[in-house]
């Protein structure tokens, strides 16, 4: 907290600056219909909380892409986690939203209510402490997320090795952001004019992994921070690049992101994980779009350690989370949205996670 306290955030929340940016964005965009997509759950939430859709021009569309780790987790992977929870002697530890999301027939929350040991933790290192405290049981940490959380999980596996914990493993469903961007940019049914690139992920990977957007798709992207002025300054630059027809990858969050990212964190990821094909909800199976634990660390890989039978996958009927995640439709265009599917009774994962596009649109609806 002390680091946060040292920064004066008021400049990034200054109402005059915000109004000025909104005005300039309106002038730049003119009458043109522009689709921007953010691919970070925190951006989705922030844009909703700041009420930007109510003050930005109507012809500037802010779409929420596959930026919420819970939302992009495939049903099959949730079913696998449920099967692990049902395994004798297993304690499942994971982040909060993961517990509520339903797989084909159950969820970790439902399993917990049935008496399985499912625990919410705030850091993967907490799962190590649970393992140390319960040597007679096996603790599985369900690792979800993108490049931002992957280094912490890698460090956790190395720590488990250093502590020689025999009863700890990770069920890894980590995914890589550029792979999702590539799938969306190449989707003929989606037209994204520019990407609001994720501030947190970029602290790790830097700018280079996004350059293909310009090379192959002539689509610009700007890395944005999370305060109101951060986001709007990024949007302004993005609209400028779009209107000028000069696609580039730029960094509007230099206080958080370095061009080369964080090589130490990437080395950690590389030491513990290798590229693997991964199934994304909505995007399907994408080659080399996920992380798997390297054979060297096989004893910390729940997929290898615990042989469980996973139930057949059933997708929720009528749910269009997949189309929402690809930017093909707005959440409100899903026939279930707000009627059958609400935060109280979520049908699809985009309504479960607080960072999901459907939940954010429902919560901050106009």
């Amino acid at each position: 907290m002390s680091a946060t306290a040292a920064i004066d955030f008021s400049v990034f929340r200054d109402p005059e600056r915000v109004r000025g940016l909104v005005e300039r964005i309106g002038r730049l965009a003119g009458e043109r219909e522009i689709n921007l997509m953010e691919v970070c759950g925190t951006h989705t939430m922030s844009i909703g909380r700041y009420g930007f859709r109510s003050i930005l021009p109507r012809n500037l569309h802010l779409l929420s892409g596959p930026g919420c780790p819970v939302c992009v987790t495939a049903n099959r992977d949730i079913d696998h986690a449920v099967a692990l929870a049902r395994h004798e002697g297993v304690i499942i530890a994971t982040f909060g939203d993961m517990v509520r999301v339903s797989g084909s027939t159950s969820s970790l929350a439902a399993e917990k209510a049935q008496g399985r040991d499912v625990r919410v933790v705030y850091s993967p290192l907490d799962a190590l402490d649970i393992a140390a405290a319960h040597p007679e049981q096996h603790v599985v940490f369900m690792g979800v997320g993108f490049e931002t959380t992957a280094p912490a999980i890698a460090a956790c596996i190395l720590e488990a090795e250093a502590r020689d914990l025999a009863n700890f493993s990770v069920f890894c469903v980590h995914k890589l952001t550029p792979a999702a961007l590539a799938a969306i940019a190449a989707d003929p049914k989606t037209r994204i004019d520019g990407f609001i690139l994720p501030g947190h992920v970029s602290t790790i990977i830097g700018l280079e992994p996004y350059e293909f957007l310009v090379r192959e798709h002539q689509t610009p992207g700007v890395v944005c921070g999370f305060e109101p002025v951060d986001i709007l300054a990024g949007v302004e630059r993005l609209v400028e690049l779009i209107v000028a027809g000069t696609p580039r990858i730029e960094n509007a969050y230099p206080r958080g992101v370095a061009r080369e990212g964080n090589p130490h964190a990437r080395a950690l990821i590389d030491q513990v994980f290798e590229l693997a094909d991964a199934t994304w909800r909505g995007l399907g199976e994408l080659p080399a779009s996920g992380l798997a634990i390297r054979p060297t660390y096989a004893r910390f890989d729940a997929r290898r350690r615990l042989d469980v039978a996973v139930e057949p996958t059933v997708e929720p009927a009528g749910c269009r989370c997949g189309d929402v995640l690809r930017g093909r439709i707005a959440p409100s265009a899903c026939p279930l949205f707000g009627r059958v599917c609400t935060p109280q009774n979520p049908v699809g994962p985009c309504m479960v996670s607080s960072e999901g596009s459907c939940a954010a649109h429902y919560r901050y609806r106009d």
């Binding site: 907290m1 002390s2 946060t4 306290a5 929340r13 109402p15 915000v18 109004r19 909104v22 925190t42 939430m45 909703g48 909380r49 700041y50 009420g51 930007f52 109510s54 003050i55 509520r100 933790v121 705030y122 850091s123 290192l125 907490d126 402490d129 109101p228 935060p343 109280q344 607080s354 960072e355 429902y362 919560r363 901050y364 609806r365 106009d366």
Partner: protein
């Protein structure tokens, strides 16, 4: 056995000699009310004859039992005192039921009882009856407390969340989110260093002062679990109105704001245990604000919003106006944000 290693035993809930001893040594010693000392199954006391009473009950299961700014005992008194006081009643008496886990340290129980007694004294209420049950180890988490409170409602006081009227003004008695974040900061694995303390406090005197200054106050509610968002949504639904909150005027400590940003919470949805929301007619708003600020625990009170008529076909709602003029809906939390915070 030394005093520091004594623990609660199943026999302490037996109804026999051990139970008599824990009642005398721990509870009576702490609370010391004559009604309790009489040793009857019911505490008998008098209420002035206005003919109307307010009665409320609440159970407390918070963990950890002690946290920055309070403990489960202080919470158990404040929670019920504040609930009864929101009706405009003068809170008089509390009951107190304990469910104790076998093995719970008696020293901790004594400390919690002393904290309850001190808080009750501060609020000017008497604990006049109680009950103790002991369950086997593993069947409870140390200590659970239930309190019930009763008070008399003065003539002419009719407070209800359904009375909010377009044009009314919304006040809050101080900074929001302190309790929820204070508890969070104590939880395992979240040892970020903050100086945020729980706001747990009895607010019956503050309410009485506001009522005197603003006699046409529509309603009070303490924004506990679900925070301000739940309280205002309840008011909006019950009164069939739209409530607009001016985000810039809502008092939130910078460190609470920072912790919320880190954890992904909205401070308007985080729990409080020593704050009061009041809705008053516009012409009494300044008087109510002054009374709040003069009262203990109300120094940072603020006017934060207004009540509006619903547009045709619109549903009751709470909207937040951001400093840059955008608006958004403020919904209630769906499920639990933090388990067992009170």
């Amino acid at each position: 056995m030394s005093a520091s290693t004594e623990t609660v035993l199943l026999g302490h809930g037996s109804g026999g000699q051990m139970m008599k001893r824990i009642i005398d040594d721990v509870f009576l010693a702490a609370y010391g009310s004559p009604e309790l000392a009489a040793g009857n199954d019911a505490g008998v006391a008098t209420l002035p004859p206005t003919g109307r009473i307010a009665l409320s009950t609440d159970s407390f299961v918070v963990t950890p039992h002690t946290f920055p700014g309070g403990d489960i005992g202080r919470l158990a008194v404040c929670g019920t005192v504040n609930d009864v006081a929101t009706s405009g009643a003068h809170v008089r008496y509390l009951s107190c039921g304990f469910i104790l886990e076998e093995g719970f340290p008696l020293a901790d129980l004594r400390r919690i009882c002393a904290s309850m007694a001190a808080t009750a004294r501060e609020a000017g209420v008497a604990i006049i009856t109680g009950d103790t049950k002991v369950v086997e180890r593993g069947s409870a988490d140390g200590i659970y407390i239930n309190t019930a409170g009763v008070g008399e409602v003065p003539e002419g006081i009719e407070l209800s969340g359904s009375s909010c009227t377009p044009g009314d003004v919304v006040l809050v008695s101080g900074t929001l989110g302190d309790h929820g974040i204070a508890i969070m900061s104590q939880r395992e694995g979240l040892a970020f260093s903050t100086e945020i303390t729980s706001d747990a406090a009895p607010l019956n005197h503050l309410i009485a002062a506001v009522l005197e200054a603003a006699p046409h106050t529509r309603c009070f509610r303490d924004p506990t679990r679900g925070g301000l968002a739940s309280t205002l949504n309840e008011f909006a639904s019950a009164s069939h109105v739209m409530i607009e909150v001016d985000e810039e005027r809502v008092p939130v400590r910078p460190d609470v704001q920072a912790a919320c940003a880190m954890l992904g919470y909205d401070p308007l949805q985080v729990a409080n245990e020593g704050k009061m929301v009041a809705v008053v007619p516009a012409d009494e708003a300044e008087a109510a604000l002054a009374a709040m600020r003069d009262a203990r625990y109300g120094e940072q009170a603020a006017i934060i919003g207004t009540v509006h008529e619903l547009a045709e076909d619109a549903l009751p709602s709470v909207r937040v106006r951001t400093p840059w003029g955008a608006t958004r809906v403020l919904d209630m939390l769906v499920g639990e944000q933090l388990p067992r915070i009170c």
